[in-house]
């Protein structure tokens, strides 16, 4: 099971946090900080897996992460997940974001938090993987976009 998905930048600023187990808000913030601390001090090109911080269960859980340009994508998972599988999943997530935002960058995540959450929701639900097929995920995301646009248009028409 995926316990949490965190995205933060090179300075530790959170850009997305999604917890699939319940923690208090304070603990969530501490987990983000702790995870950043663990991941950011690691060299490039070493192993992408490490034991989780104490707050999120220590050696019971693993942190699996990838570093893209200014962002860290970190998945905290228990032992029932395949490490390499999760690495693939991160890649699928990033490629999907890239397609949806056309060359995704950190700013897209900041200004379209709701969309990032929606895309993630198409892939992971309650900590389990819902869909790994990128085109399926994009199709769903586009359908939602379309719905949103048509509602906005409808609102515009009404107000005219």
């Amino acid at each position: 099971m995926i316990k949490a998905i965190l995205i933060f930048n090179n300075h530790g600023k959170p850009r997305l946090s999604k917890f699939y187990e319940h923690y208090t808000e304070d603990t969530e913030q501490q987990i983000i900080r702790e995870t950043f601390h663990l991941v950011s001090k690691r060299d490039e090109n070493i192993c992408n897996f490490l034991e989780g911080g104490l707050l999120i269960g220590g050696s019971e859980n693993k942190l699996i992460y990838r570093h893209y340009a200014t962002l860290y994508f970190v998945f905290c998972v228990d032992s029932s997940e395949s490490e390499l599988g999760i690495l693939d999943l991160i890649q699928v997530f990033v490629e999907t974001l890239d397609k949806c935002f056309e060359n995704v960058c950190e700013l897209d995540l900041i200004f379209h938090m709701d969309k990032v959450h929606n895309i993630l929701a198409e892939m992971v639900m309650g900590g389990m993987v819902l869909e790994t097929n990128m085109s399926e995920i994009i199709t769903q995301a586009e359908a939602h976009n379309k719905m949103e646009k048509s509602e906005v248009r409808a609102a515009l028409l009404r107000s005219d």
Binding site: C47, S82, E83, G85, H117, M125, G126, M128, L130, V152
Partner: protein, 921 residues
């Protein structure tokens, strides 16, 4: 509505985010946020009804503020209101807010549940999915109560859209995890299994997580999933890389689903059906073969996905542990990965090999990679990889390579990362104990451990070394010598001082013969560390000092002075002060006899599971040390072995009033002589005493009086005994190691003994006292027969009591001249017994001395012209007569041989002593 014309973006939100990002300081950021929160609050509270767009904008702002780590204590109601909107945009943002911000205990749950109910029955797949997502994310009990019945219906209904099915499967999984009692198995369960056959791969992907979880809990009910999973896997594995279209990831068909299928199969034993099994083995072979094929793409994603499947396949092979062929292939494959340039693969290979090492088929194959693994420990740049290498070394360790592995781990410890030092220390300590062939190696290893990583040596580790030294008399002299040497270092770790204090306090006498480690030198060495130590260590040292007074009366005045000094007797710490006062008093008023009793050598510790092992288990979780559970005879649940009252032990030994004279008041004691015991001898005729079996245990007690006489899974028998002249008293402790009562517990001795309690509660210990009088010399030991019922089964046990003739020795000091004069007087051929034999143990002078002293004779210094030789003198006290005995032991270090000569006034005594002693060295 101007902002809307900007398309789907929200200008107000963008402006706010830019403001925050432009803040130069944390204070400015907080100020801006507070301003915005006040604004939103007033908007929410205001009379004017907000339109959906504004609500969405404000909720997005709140989410952003929340992400930055600020508490949001309002807006929930507004979010719940958004749920009942008919517009996707509003509904979606409401659900988003709730899944991020509402915890499962929120009071709003009832309102949220209502909205969800409406959406689930709306037949709008988008709304249904939003609702299902919300349930899966919040997963509270109230939600489970409301929807646990509904969701299985949605999942298996024929007309449900695929996307809804996917969501329903995972939603049900979440509810099953949080409230398994509310998800009732039923007609839907069999149909869920068949989702593995679904045309839509997304449905299979979602369903397999649900099925895996359900199978783990109810394996029988979901057994049919095995053949379905195998056929699905087989279809994927044998498909061309283009067959599965969008589920092909960088030329690998459906890697995620393959991994999950292989994981599902790990919930079950190998398939019984031959055809299914054949198909599965074929799949596994195909996967292993594909690993050897040239890659279809140079991209890392391609090899990544391929290897993800490969590792899961290997896990399944290891899980089955029944196909030696596949196991060896798996091991070879992992061996390749150990040297791969990808760090991730090296990491995973080390991890998988750890589990492989515990399989009997592959343990040897894993061991061939030892050099690579040691190299990884030394050279990997990444601490998590080094950690896996250390784990693997631990797992592959056995008697054949223990010395090498422990040495490597010790040398790695010097540079190891702080984060893993403690665990490394525990592992080294466990391996050293588990595979110790000679215990001097063990003592060396642990002392090295303290020297190299003293800060990380937990109490369990140094308690354990003391337990082992106390329980094994063959290592005591060596331990005393080694700690003495280790303490010479100008800066030594406090843990070393603790071990040193304890061991010298118990066994300092074993090295006191050497002027370089005379009692006073030992004391001064310990005391030179005293002022640098913490209070608990000082307390322990004080106990060691009082033990010194007993061991070495000549140190009494020096130590009393120390105890009397203001810094001890008026110490601000109560414990130290109390010890100083009590020990001072004890040393000045108690007679030597009383002191000797109070400060007697510690009795052996009961053998239990190493507390270190328990600690490592706790640290690593159950899986990580599974290999260790192979260890025989170690039981669960061990905790500190008597570690609690360390340092205070001396005051907890029997009170001074347990006087030895009470012995005479006891019932008349019969001799251990065989003639006296013959009355009862027939009792044992059927018991079949196996001399060889008990020989080693028995002979261990020739030179010592306390210890564990016997131990099996049920029962432990400990002995404490004391002898004076021709009398002796033996305490037998019968410990019930099980949790069940022993009933009708009886012991019979071919000599008289006080009866023992007929009942031993689980985990309890009862004591039996045997008074002994030696009437005449003897060579056969008394036999003890024990009978009891354990859970209905009659247990029958016969043991030799370790009462030997030498126990009745009175040491006789004499000068060189006297010794040789008496030696010549005992010149009749039958008075002498001689034996030449090979050394069974290391020929350590201190150990030899300790043993000879334990024998009960006086060890005479400066008597034999050859300083290598040992000579002893003593008188055996029996009721009938006294038998003077002289002994000479000549070691030949080069040949590893001894010559032992015993002369005594009675021929049978010479012979018996010679027999007894020859087994000792």
């Amino acid at each position: 509505m101007p902002a809307v014309s900007k398309g789907d973006g929200m200008r107000g939100l963008a402006v706010f985010i830019s403001d925050i990002r432009n803040c130069k300081s944390k204070e400015a950021e907080i100020k801006r946020i507070n301003k915005e929160l006040a604004n939103i609050r007033s908007k929410f509270k205001g009379d004017k009804a907000l339109d959906g767009y504004s609500k969405k904008k404000y909720v997005c702002k709140l989410l952003f503020i929340f992400l930055l780590g600020h508490d949001i204590d309002f807006g929930h109601m507004e979010a719940v209101n958004l749920l009942s909107s008919n517009k996707y945009t509003e509904k979606q943002i409401g659900y988003l807010f709730i899944s991020v911000l509402v915890n499962s205990n929120s009071e709003l749950i009832r309102l949220i549940n209502n909205a969800i109910k409406n959406d689930l029955s709306s037949r709008n797949p988008t709304f249904m999915c939003l609702a299902l997502h919300c349930i899966a994310n919040v997963g509270s009990r109230e939600m489970a109560e409301a929807f646990a019945g509904e969701i299985p219906r949605i999942l298996v209904a024929g007309d449900t859209m695929d996307s809804v099915k996917q969501s329903a499967a995972l939603c049900l999984l979440r509810l099953y995890k949080t409230s398994p009692d509310l998800v009732l198995m039923g007609e839907w369960t069999s149909r869920v299994v068949h989702l593995l056959n679904d045309q839509h791969m997304g449905v299979v992907t979602a369903a397999i997580s649900l099925i895996t979880c359900l199978s783990q809990k109810n394996p029988d009910e979901f057994k049919t999933c095995v053949s379905l999973a195998v056929s699905r896997l087989s279809r994927i594995v044998s498909s061309a890389s283009t067959d599965l279209q969008d589920y092909t990831y960088y030329f690998v068909p459906a890697p995620w689903l393959s991994c999950k299928l292989l994981r599902l199969l790990q919930c079950y034993p190998p398939p019984e059906d031959g055809a299914v099994k054949g198909r599965l083995v074929e799949c596994l072979e195909t996967i292993l073969n594909k690993a050897q094929e040239p890659p279809k793409s140079k991209k890392v994603q391609h090899s990544n996905a391929k290897n993800a499947i490969l590792f899961e396949a290997i896990s399944l092979i290891i899980h089955y542990d029944s196909e030696p062929n596949l196991l060896v292939r798996a091991c070879n494959q992992l061996g390749q990965f150990l040297q791969h340039r990808e760090t991730n693969l090296r990491y995973l290979a080390l991890e998988s090999m750890c589990t492989l090492a515990s399989s009997e088929f592959s343990h040897e194959a894993v061991k061939t990679h030892i050099e690579t693994v040691i190299n990884a420990l030394k050279t990997e740049r990444d601490v998590s990889v080094r950690q896996r290498a250390a784990d693997l070394l631990y797992a592959m360790c056995d008697r054949s390579n223990a010395k090498q592995i422990v040495a490597e781990m010790l040398s790695y410890l010097e540079t190891a990362d702080y984060s893993i030092r403690e665990e490394m220390v525990l592992k080294v300590a466990i391996l050293a104990e588990k595979y110790a062939v000679d215990y001097s190696w063990y003592v060396d290893t642990i002392l090295n451990l303290i020297r190299i990583a003293g800060d990380y040596v937990s109490e369990e580790v140094w308690y354990r070394v003391i337990q082992i030294v106390i329980n094994r008399d063959d290592v005591q002299g060596y331990a005393a010598k080694t700690v003495f040497e280790a303490l010479q270092a100008p800066a030594c770790h406090e843990n070393m001082v603790k071990v040193g204090g304890y061991i010298l306090g118990e066994f300092g006498n074993l090295i006191a013969g050497d002027p370089r480690s005379s009692p006073l030198v030992q004391f001064n060495l310990l005391h030179s560390k005293f002022h640098l130590c913490s209070v608990p260590t000082r307390a322990l040292l004080l106990s060691a000092y009082i033990k010194f007074i007993n061991l070495f009366p000549e140190t009494k005045s020096t130590i009393q002075e120390v105890l009397r000094s203001d810094s001890q007797i008026r110490n601000s710490d109560v414990e130290l002060q109390q010890r100083a006062v009590e020990y001072l008093k004890l040393s000045s008023i108690a007679s030597t006899d009383v002191l000797a009793t109070v400060l007697e050598e510690m009795p052996p510790f009961p053998e239990r599971e190493s507390s270190i092992l328990a600690k490592l288990k706790k640290k690593k979780g159950p899986g990580a040390v599974s290999v260790n559970e192979l260890e025989e005879g170690k039981r669960e649940g061990g905790e500190l072995n008597g570690g609690g009252e360390r340092g205070g032990d001396s005051s907890s030994t029997p009170s001074p009033s347990a006087d030895l004279l009470g012995l005479r008041a006891g019932p008349p004691v019969t001799a251990a002589a065989p003639s006296a015991g013959s009355l009862l001898v027939d009792v044992f005729s059927e018991a079949g005493v196996n001399d060889d079996g008990f020989l080693s245990e028995f002979s261990r007690f020739v030179c010592k009086n306390n210890g564990v006489l016997f131990e099996n899974q049920l029962l432990q028998i400990g002995i404490k005994s004391e002898y004076r002249q021709n009398l002796g008293r033996m305490y037998l402790f019968y410990g019930n190691k099980t949790s069940v009562q022993f009933v009708t517990f009886t012991t019979t001795l071919n000599v008289q003994a006080k009866p023992v309690e007929p009942l031993i509660e689980g985990g309890a210990q009862v004591q039996q006292v045997i008074n002994i009088e030696c009437l005449t010399d003897f060579s056969d030991a008394p036999l003890l027969n024990i009978k009891f019922r354990y859970g209905g089964a009659l247990q029958n046990l016969t043991l030799k009591l370790p009462v030997t003739i030498n126990k009745f020795f009175q040491p006789t000091e004499m000068a060189s001249h006297d010794f040789f004069q008496r030696w010549k007087q005992l010149s009749l051929p039958q008075q002498e017994a001689q034996k030449i034999f090979k050394a069974n143990h290391a020929m350590d002078t201190e150990v030899l001395k300790a043993k000879l002293l334990g024998l009960g004779m006086a060890l005479l210094e400066n008597v034999d012209p050859n300083p290598e030789n040992f000579v002893c003198a003593g008188v055996i006290q029996t009721k009938a007569q006294q038998v003077g005995s002289l002994l000479r032991l000549e070691p030949n270090a080069q040949a590893q041989m001894y010559r032992l000569t015993v002369r005594s006034s009675k021929d049978t005594v010479s012979k018996r002593l010679c027999e007894l002693l020859a087994e000792q060295f």
